[in-house]
Amino acid sequence: MAATPITLRSPAATDAATAFASALSATPEWREWEEAAMRLRADPSAQRASAAYDERRQALRIKLMLQAASAEEKADLERLERALFAQPSVAAYTKAEADLKALCRATADRLSRAIGLDYAASCATGCCG
């Protein structure tokens, strides 16, 4: 089956895409997510907790893949993970991100129903694409 030449961006779709992006970025969910991300980046305690967790996870990566990590090592990683998610700015970001994703999924569902294609799955760059 030979590929059919297509126009990826029609002017009309581009105008509508601009209006859509503008409407999405004006929602409370989007603003809260942006603010939460900013607070997270500016929180030294959360950054330290994140670095400690990432460093430990990276150090154990191979052992975890091979299921060779000891109970103590797993417990230590879990302790660092709990410490990370106990940070108020991390918890706030996680909630803001979940709220934004729920809004984006609902929005994509609305698009999917109208165009007969699953928007998120069609545009995925992973195995769903």
């Binding site: 089956m1 590929a3 059919t4 297509i6 126009t7 990826l8 961006r9 029609s10 009309a12 779709a13 581009t14 105008d15 509508a16 895409a17 601009t18 209006a19 859509f20 992006a21 503008s22 409407a23 999405l24 970025s25 004006a26 929602t27 934004l100 994703k101 729920a102 809004l103 984006c104 999924r105 609902a106 929005t107 994509a108 569902d109 609305r110 698009l111 999917s112 129903r113 109208a114 165009i115 007969g116 294609l117 699953d118 928007y119 998120a120 799955a121 069609s122 545009c123 995925a124 760059t125 992973g126 195995c127 769903c128």
Partner: protein, 129 residues
């Protein structure tokens, strides 16, 4: 498109999504896909051929897992595949779908560029990829 999330979108976002969906549906690749999809859905023989291939593939996977694939099974699968590939309605539907997905990805690229984040990735369901 399973498990649609029922979230009431803010009116401005719902309007922008509807306008975007209308414009996407009017682009040549998506309009062609919607026409091809309609033709496919109206063609009971084409639907039966595709359903036949799907059923054969599923049966073959089960038999493969049990190590019971025979030469007759392979011939049956090949025949089902050839019947589907020779069907012009299915072929047109698949080609049109591929082009529509490529076009949709172009629209998502545009939205994502404006938002500085991949909108489709935000809209993806947990567990998908």
């Amino acid at each position: 498109m399973t498990e649609l999330i029922e979230i009431e979108l803010p009116p401005a976002l719902a309007d922008a999504a509807d306008a975007l969906a209308r414009d996407i549906a009017a682009t040549e690749p998506v309009a062609r896909f919607l026409r091809a999809q309609e033709c496919f859905e109206r063609d009971s023989a084409a639907r039966a051929r595709l359903a036949g291939l799907t059923a054969t593939q599923q049966r073959m996977q089960r038999r493969q897992a049990q190590g019971q694939v025979s030469a007759d099974d392979m011939a049956e699968l090949r025949a089902a595949r050839e019947a589907v590939e020779a069907d012009p309605v299915i072929s047109d539907y698949w080609c049109a779908r591929r082009d529509a997905v490529a076009s949709l990805r172009g629209v998502n690229d545009e939205i994502s560029r404006l938002l500085a984040v991949d909108f489709a990735a935000l809209a993806r369901r947990p567990g998908c990829c």
